[in-house]
């Protein structure tokens, strides 16, 4: 059954011209990728656009695909690049944080993390449904610093390991581990009454 195939095998089949392989691959990962993008950009409409762009990039880059790493690592790396392009166009202040964090150690990132604007100001739709649990989770995620949120989402939605997250984000393994730890502490604090 093609549905039991690994992501990499499905992508190779699609590269060879099997459109059904792509359909299976897409249905398997459409939700996680969309949620990753939606949580990161904070707008459903923008998430739709980004989601479509990322999958079209996958379609166009199929000939260059080689199963050197997990498909999800490759997919989320593409998504992250597209997200940075989006920040470059629509949220340059966030882009500055991404660029600054590239050379920064996770332990030294507390300064700019504290300076981040409140997520509620950027995501009105999250504020609008504050009382729903799911919305509270979204809000808690939105309140995370982008890089911590990114690591958390890649781990939860992409099921990536520390090494894979490090590869996808271009950071070191220890930096990724620290960001993950900070993210979990903050989320637990925000959602304590729900746990």
């Amino acid at each position: 059954m093609q549905t039991d195939w690994s992501d990499e095998r499905l992508m190779l089949a699609y590269r060879a011209g099997d459109a059904n392989a792509f359909t299976i691959l897409y249905r398997r990962h459409r939700g996680p990728l969309y949620r990753y993008l939606a949580r990161q950009c904070g707008s459903a409409a923008e998430a739709d656009e980004l989601h479509q762009d990322v999958w079209l990039k996958v379609v166009h880059a199929r000939r260059q695909y080689e199963p050197l790493a997990r498909f999800l690592t490759w997919l989320f790396r593409i998504a992250r690049h597209r997200l940075i392009d989006h920040y470059r166009q629509h949220a340059r202040h966030l882009l500055a944080h991404y660029e600054a964090a590239a050379d920064e150690d996770a332990e030294g990132s507390e300064d700019w993390i504290e300076r981040l604007p409140a997520a509620s100001e950027e995501m009105p739709h999250v504020l609008h449904e504050r009382h729903d649990t799911a919305r509270r989770i979204s809000l808690a995620l939105a309140e995370l610093p982008p890089l911590q949120r990114e690591v958390f989402l890649l781990a939860e939605e992409g099921q990536l390991t520390l090494e894979e997250i490090a590869a996808a984000t271009g950071c070191g393994r220890e930096t990724t581990k620290s960001r993950m730890r900070y993210a979990l502490v903050r989320l637990r604090k925000s959602l304590q009454d729900l746990l």
Binding site: Y14, G17, D18, A19, F22, T23, Y26, R30, G31, Y34, R35, A38, A44, A47, D48, H51, Q52, W55, L56, V59, H60, R62, R70, T133, A134, I137, A155, E156, E157, Q159, L160, T161, L162, E164, K177, M180, R181, L184, L187, R188, L191, L194, L195
Partner: protein
Amino acid sequence: MSERPKDFPGDAQLSALYREHARDEPSVEIDERILAAARAAVTVPVSAARRSWWQRWRTTLALTTTLTLTLTLALLQQRLPGDSRREAEVAPPRPVAPGSALPSAARDVAAPAASAPAGVTGDAVAGAGAAAVGVAPRPQAREESSVGQRLAQPAGGSGPRPADGDTPHREGRLAGGRQEVVPESSAAAGKEGNALPAAAAAAPAAASAEQQTAAVGQPPAARQQARAVAKSRADDGRSADDWLEEIRALRREGRNADAAKQLADFRRVHPDYPLPEEFRQ
């Protein structure tokens, strides 16, 4: 899903809570758009994949066929005028109907493929070839005879020089000439061996005489123009002057009967050509 290392800073409770409430998904429209784009990217264009050899080559074949047909038709068209001319050359001159003017005979010669005179068609024309050739000179010979001139010339000089497109029957006439010098009238009569009805012979003779008279009566400019026209309207590639020269040669060889027939033919072809003095007798 990869195995997570033991040092992975996970929180099972938090993870479960998150996954329980993470239900956001892209819209169906987005899904359809993406899947359609993915299918289109790997679908081989129908025009390239499913076209049979006939669909791929039909334009080339059609062009080749058209070109071949065009060339064949062009070659056939080139051959047709040549064939008609050859037929005209092979076919004997039609007899001049009594009472018809010489220019009409000239038109017949100028347009060999034209219809034969009424009452003379197909094999009748071919069968009457020799007679038809002989009919025209006879009145002229009589006229010459009536004038009393004898066209006796010493043999010698250059022989007859048939033109490139000269016809077999004409060649036959030239080759069949006799060396003896005889009066034109008696030669013509003796050679043909039959007497023509006086009425049939009288009209062409009169027409010929009229033509000659008219030609003589023309002003010098008109005569020169007629000569030029006759020159340009060469018969089988032979100019009027060349033809007259051949007739002179025949006379010099003593083949007066042939010369007379040639002269009669000449008059039919070039009715407006002003004859030199030596041929007006």
